[in-house]
């Protein structure tokens, strides 16, 4: 059966559709949004201060907003009054007239990259009944790469507090000496003078003797923190499975804006 081949309609349609398809593939470049990074710890009894920075883009081809992070107009609102923070340069801002108070709610707002950045937080209660099992601990000197610890180790230091509502606490341990003597000799690197215990919602934590790296007087700071801060540690090992935005208190920005409260005790780590 012979049939003529009217290919033209198909051909014309093909050309038409093709030109439509090719001409309509423009996309907005939304690869990187210049967003503000806020770091503010609102510690009961301290002056208000915060820092603002930019995120580091993964791509070279990005456009930054013209906003100067050293000269933003940042407003803090609490108890019905609004204050504008004083820029100190290098992204630092403060207001020495604002003393953080337990129970207050603090709201932050400013404009960055044409977006209204806001954040809000409250200040948790001061820890109650913070106690330690001992005020001094004697730790025998250790040698690096020895199998097992040298000498007899004392019991761990037990720290306790009241926590009727199961909120979040953790302890930061700081060596206060200017030139502290290390407990372990023969180590290659230098150990940190500060370490912490994992965040907990229990009423007790403990410090094992070899958690201490140096002899001398140590400060034990018990922080009462909000869930968004505890979440920073929960996502601490940022794995390849997720890219968590740690703070849920900030909109149109990233970082941490969180209230906290603390109490401090001291412990002496003694060379035998």
């Amino acid at each position: 059966m012979k049939i003529s081949m009217p290919k033209k309609p198909i051909f014309i349609l093909a050309v038409l559709f093709l030109s439509m398809a090719v001409s309509c593939t423009k996309e907005d470049n939304t690869e990187f949004t210049d967003a503000a990074i806020i770091e503010a710890y609102l510690n009961d009894g301290h002056y208000f201060s915060l820092s603002v920075s930019r995120q580091i883009p993964f791509s070279d081809n990005v456009t930054y907003s013209s906003d100067d992070i050293n000269n933003l107009s940042i407003a803090i609102n609490y108890n019905g009054s609004t204050h504008t923070l004083t820029p100190l340069g290098n992204g630092q801002y403060s207001d020495s007239t604002i003393v953080i108070n337990q129970g207050n709610v603090y709201n932050l707002s400013f404009t960055f990259n044409n977006q209204n950045v806001t954040a809000t937080t409250s200040i948790p209660a001061k820890p109650i009944n913070f106690q330690q099992s001992v005020t001094g601990i004697t730790v025998p000197p250790q040698v690096e790469s020895h199998s097992g610890p040298t000498g007899t180790l004392p019991d761990p230091v037990e720290l306790s507090w009241n926590n009727p509502d199961g909120s979040n606490y953790f302890v930061v341990i700081q060596n206060m000496e200017t030139n502290p003597v290390p407990i372990t000799t023969g180590a290659t690197g230098q150990s940190d003078k500060t370490f912490r215990t994992p965040p907990t919602n229990l009423t007790v934590t403990e410090i094992r003797p070899l958690d201490f790296q140096y002899y001398g007087m140590h400060r034990l700071i018990l922080y009462h923190v909000l869930p968004d801060y505890a979440a920073l540690y929960a996502t601490g090992n940022n794995s390849s499975q997720n890219l968590a935005n740690p703070s849920t208190a900030i909109t149109n920005g990233y970082g941490i804006f969180t209230g906290l409260n603390s109490d401090t005790l001291f412990i002496d780590v003694i060379h035998p």
Binding site: I3, F58, D60, L243
Partner: protein, 796 residues
């Protein structure tokens, strides 16, 4: 059986001894060679809009025939359209129509119009495409002729997902497409990363795809239905055949015993032969060239693995009225997507990274159905199916990274994912069709399914993040009616489906309707609407760095609600002897969609409960599809264009709608088929807008209260990025081999096919890993130019 082929319809008109014959003709449509019943064939009165389709077992019943000398036309893809002139005094029940496969069509047999469609768009049915594997080898392939791949050449079905045989129909996801194989639901249709479908075309007889607005008979899915009917096996003679391609070998045998029993068993397995490796390696450098773009180092991963599947179907016809068949399917994949890379980023420190990843997945399906069909009388037909379906998936992905810093110190870290998903579906259903009047057919039935779905997901060592184990019953019934009005000008199909789901303890009612109005025998207007519920969903687990994955979960809990959709479809078609022009617009709203993401922290409580990380949203998709098909002649084929949009709204990601992962704006496809003597040539070209994705965009540090610094990463707007446009051309040539002198028949073919002829690099997805604030980006690409050779032989 008495019937005749006639080439000249005018003869029918000139016949002077017409008698009134205003009642019906019923019977069966079969393949003349194999005796296979042909399901869903279209039987029409010539020159009118009066027509019916045969049922799943090939039976039909055509009413309102005006004269006993009328001519009826039977069409079925892959077969020559057959015209039959009725003769006075002929039997009007048990009328047997035997059709000839198109390839066997010879000059001495007088057959009507020379139509042998690869694909058939049914003008009178809303959003329906029909295909048989008969002519499938004419289309280009990547090693296996594949029925679901072929559907991707039609408008409204996304063709840019080489990695998914599961169909993205009209902005829907593959899990929203119900796949029925001989009556049992298949939950995962992908072989080899989705490059091949789970269905061996040697074992298939017929596939119907409803792109939307589907009838009440089908349920449990939001978007579309793919109804696959397996072959019963040659009923007349023993047959055996084999295909060998550069990808796989494929064998089948058909064994009839007596005239009551027929069977078919088909097996195929992929292999990586020498030639395959050589060709593959030539065009796909593994690991290879690292292209650094400002701190990003790029490497590529090439995929490797194997699969096998086996299909069996055993059919027994104890009486003229009963058919009992057992269908069994098992398919398994073992996938290895491991890669290794060592890169030195441009910006930043002089650290070097080496990264090796293990990615092993085993998955597969086991399914079986036992079907009993009975033709109670000329008016009542029933189908009762007991079925079992199991989908299982086991994934182990662990990564080992080592970083050598500028001081030469090496730091090695390992992470992993352990993911298992096991779905079991036990179903019993019974479907009935009853011819109430000449122009009214009632269809009704009941169904019951017991679901048992388990999913566990562990991250890093052995910390289980998610462990779901749910069981539920879904039971219900449906009633629908096919009504022909205004002298068969209007086909109206209203229906309702009611389901009771034990997880929610609720009834769900789904009213649906479709209508087709044949203005004349060339122009049809169509419309459809309906409400659809889905009780088992494949949830997307968002993973920006390693590529998102899916898993099946039972819906109905607070985390994963029962999802629903509304369809609105309008269309028009013009069809003459040579061309089909079709346009259809659709709008679909989706509610209670679920996605799982670990990107967001719970707001309350210090214990991170990952089960809170299910997020619910809604969405819509809309679009318009154009199709022009040339049906006859030496050059045939079609051109299609789809303008579409699929958007989701999940409040957790953004306040406004964002493009869904399957959103494709423009999709253009063309298929050309040319026949010259024993040679069949074909060429296809597809173009599609790149799909959206989310990428890491930057990093920042937070100084913690203990003085340490913690790095965090930001991402782009949800699906705010687009992959480059996808386009590809494929070509194929087949040489048919005939045997026999008097009774010539095609016994095989030699086919050469080239996939992605101009070696376009199409990106599948991007993988990232972040180490020391540096990002390592890996483009996982689709196949480059891939030639294939197929040898196919069969006894008959």
């Amino acid at each position: 059986m008495l019937f005749s082929f006639i080439s000249n319809a005018a003869l029918a008109q000139s016949d002077s001894i017409q008698k009134p014959f205003n009642h019906k003709l019923s019977g069966i449509i079969k393949d003349k060679g194999t005796g296979e019943a042909l399901p869903f064939a279209i039987i029409q009165l010539k020159g009118t809009t009066t027509g019916v389709t045969s049922n799943v077992d090939g039976y039909f019943s055509l009413t309102n025939i005006p004269a006993d000398t009328s001519t009826i036309v039977v069409s079925y893809p892959g077969y020559s359209a057959t015209e039959i002139q009725l003769k006075p005094g002929q039997a009007t029940t048990d009328f047997k129509i035997e059709m000839l496969p198109a390839a066997k069509q010879l000059k001495e047999v007088t057959v009507s119009a020379e139509r042998e469609d690869v694909m058939l768009v049914d003008r009178s049915n809303v959003s329906m495409i029909k295909m048989t594997p008969k002519k499938l080898e004419q289309l280009p392939n990547i090693g296996e002729k594949d029925i679901l791949r072929a559907f991707q050449l039609m408008p409204g079905i996304s063709s840019s997902n080489e990695s998914s045989s599961g169909l993205y129909v009209r902005g829907g996801t593959p899990d929203q497409n119900l796949v029925l194989y001989d009556g049992f639901t298949v939950y995962h249709v992908d072989h080899l990363y989705g490059f091949y479908s789970a269905f061996n075309s040697n074992a298939l007889k017929d596939v119907q795809l409803y792109k939307g607005g589907f009838e009440s008979k089908f349920g449990g899915r939001l978007s579309s239905v793919t109804e696959i009917t397996g072959k019963d096996g040659n009923q007349n003679k023993f047959n055996v055949g084999a295909d060998v391609s550069l990808l796989s070998f494929n064998v089948f045998a058909e064994v009839p015993i007596g005239d009551k029993f027929s069977s078919i068993v088909a097996f195929r397995r992929s292999y990586r032969g020498l030639l395959y490796n050589q060709i593959f390696g030539m065009f796909n450098a593994t690991g290879g060239t690292a292209k650094a773009e400002g701190g990003r180092a790029t490497t590529s991963t090439t995929v490797a693995s194997f699969f096998y599947d086996v299909n069996g179907k055993f059919t027994y016809r104890p009486t003229k009225k009963d058919i009992i068949s057992l269908s069994i399917y098992n398919g398994t994949d073992k996938l290895d997507n491991s890669s290794a890379a060592t890169e030195q980023p441009i910006s930043g420190s002089s650290s070097t990274f080496s990264n090796s990843s293990t990615d092993l997945t085993n998955y597969g399906n086991i399914g079986s159905s036992l079907k009993w069909s009975r033709r109670w009388n000329d008016k009542l037909y029933s189908n009762t199916i007991a079925s079992y379906s199991n989908y299982y998936s086991d994934r182990n992905n662990s990564q080992t990274k080592s970083i050598t810093d500028s001081l030469g110190a090496t730091n090695t870290s390992s992470q992993g994912i352990f993911e298992t998903n096991n779905l079991q579906d036990y179903s019993l259903k019974s479907d009935y069709q009853y011819d109430l009047k000449n122009n009214v057919q009632l269809q009704f039935g009941g169904f019951g399914t017991y679901y048992d779905i388990q999913y566990t997901y562990a991250q890093n060592d052995t910390v289980t993040i998610l462990n779901k184990n749910n069981q539920a019953y879904l039971t219900g019934a449906y009633l629908q009616s096919k009504i022909d009005l205004l002298h068969n000008k209007i086909h109206f199909l209203p229906g309702i489906r009611a389901s009771y789901f034990t997880t929610t303890n609720k009834m769900y009612y789904e009213p649906r309707a479709s209508v087709a109005y044949n203005i004349n025998d060339k122009i049809t207007l169509k419309a459809a609407t309906g409400l659809y519920y889905q009780f088992a969903n494949r949830v997307t687990r968002e993973d920006i760095l390693a590529g998102s994955r899916d898993f099946w979960l039972l819906s109905g809990t607070n985390d994963v609600p029962v999802s629903s959709a509304m369809h609105y479809i309008l269309g028009a078609a013009y069809e003459n002897d040579n061309y089909l022009f079709s346009v259809e617009g659709y709008y679909k709203t989706l509610s209670n969609l679920t996605e799982y993401s670990l990107r967001f922290n719970p707001q309350q409580g210090s214990d991170v409960s990952y089960s809170e990380n299910f997020f619910t949203g809604k969405g819509f998709s809309r679009g318009i599809e154009f199709l022009v098909q040339r049906k006859v002649g030496k050059i045939k084929g079609w051109v299609s264009y789809t303008l579409g949009q699929a958007q989701n709204l999940f409040p957790v990601y953004s306040t406004g709608y964002f493009p869904a992962a399957q959103d494709v704006t423009h999709e253009f496809k063309t298929v050309l088929l040319y026949k010259y003597k024993k040679w069949n040539f074909s060429a296809t070209w597809v173009y599609a807008t790149g799909r959206p994705y989310t990428a890491p965009s930057g990093a920042y540090n937070v100084t913690l209260l203990d003085g340490s610094q913690q790095s965090f990463y930001t991402v782009t707007a949800k699906n705010g990025q687009r992959l480059p446009a996808y386009h590809r051309a494929d070509i194929a040539v087949n040489y048919s081999i005939f045997a026999g002198k008097k009774n010539r028949r095609e016994i095989g073919y030699i086919g050469v096919s080239v996939f992605n002829v101009y070696n376009r690099t199409n990106v599948w997805y991007k993988q990232y890993s972040i180490t020391n604030g540096q990002i390592l980006q890996t483009n996982v690409n689709y196949l480059g130019i891939t030639p294939n050779l197929t040898l196919s032989f069969k006894l008959r």
